[in-house]
Amino acid sequence: MKTIEDLKRLRDQVQSTTRMRHDSSRQIIVGMGTCGIAAGAREVMSTILDEIAKRKLDDVLVRQTGCIGMCEKEVLVDVVLAGQPRITYGNVTTADIPKIIADHVVNGRIVKELAIGKFVE
């Protein structure tokens, strides 16, 4: 990267791939800050990976993010389906994962009793 134009080009390129990803796939995002990990985010993450492997959900993208600040609701897991608002689940345990994946990720039905918020642009 040599000029500021290079930076802008990279930004636009990443933005468009992000948009494409949002339009075409399903994402699960786990909050992996120290608080999240202390509350069990690692176990939740590996249960998610197991569960999507078991269900052969090859197109589901599992990502990590940092801390959003709601420590007392850790572990936090977000689910994003194409064209829909990002939904945050709070106080997630490994036992909740099969339900979140089966109901929300696979069948598009939000697990209301665990959902704590949605992102509206």
Binding site: T34, C35, I37, A38, A39, C71, E72, E74
Partner: protein, 162 residues
């Protein structure tokens, strides 16, 4: 380099300072390298023995008195062998307000050692720490690099069993 040899975890290799030499080489000519060298040496040997410190002193050309001063200043450095797992119970403000003392007491009872000590089988060293920064989940503790939060005296035995 005689009586203490049995305590050293250098698995009888030909030169017990191999690992140290590597570290020293890495930091050769780097300014202010003493602390990282000590950190890596401790990481390699578990603690900082007299022999290791003497060796560092010689190779880095820093008086051993000065090294001793640094080692004893920082709570991270240890001059005696330590347990395989280090348990650090947070005693920060948030943890204090949420009952960190009962957690520490429970661990002391479970391991039958006081804070600051190591179990005779060298499995655990128990320490307190001022704040881990996971206050939202207070009370918390760290076992090695893993943080455990929302502790109650009841779940302590379960965590220790792991």
């Amino acid at each position: 380099m005689n009586s203490n040899q049995s305590q050293c975890c250098c698995d009888g290799s030909v030169n017990q300072f191999d690992k140290l030499d590597e570290v020293l080489k890495k930091y050769q000519g780097v300014k202010g390298a003493l602390i990282p060298v000590l950190q890596e040496a401790q990481h390699a040997y578990g603690y900082l023995s007299k022999e290791v410190l003497q060796n560092i002193s010689k190779k880095m050309d820093i008086p051993i008195s000065q090294i001793y001063g640094v080692v004893t200043f920082y709570s991270q450095f240890h001059l005696t062998p330590r347990g395989k797992s280090i348990i650090r119970v947070c005693q920060g403000t948030a943890c204090h307000v949420r009952g960190a003392k009962t957690i520490l007491n429970e661990i002391e009872n479970q391991l039958n050692i006081k804070s600051g000590a190591t179990t005779p089988d060298l499995k655990f060293t128990l320490e307190t720490v001022a704040c881990i920064g996971a206050c939202g989940l207070a009370p918390v503790m760290m076992i090695d690099d893993d943080t455990h939060g929302r502790l109650t005296p009841e779940i302590i035995p379960k965590i220790l069993a792991k």
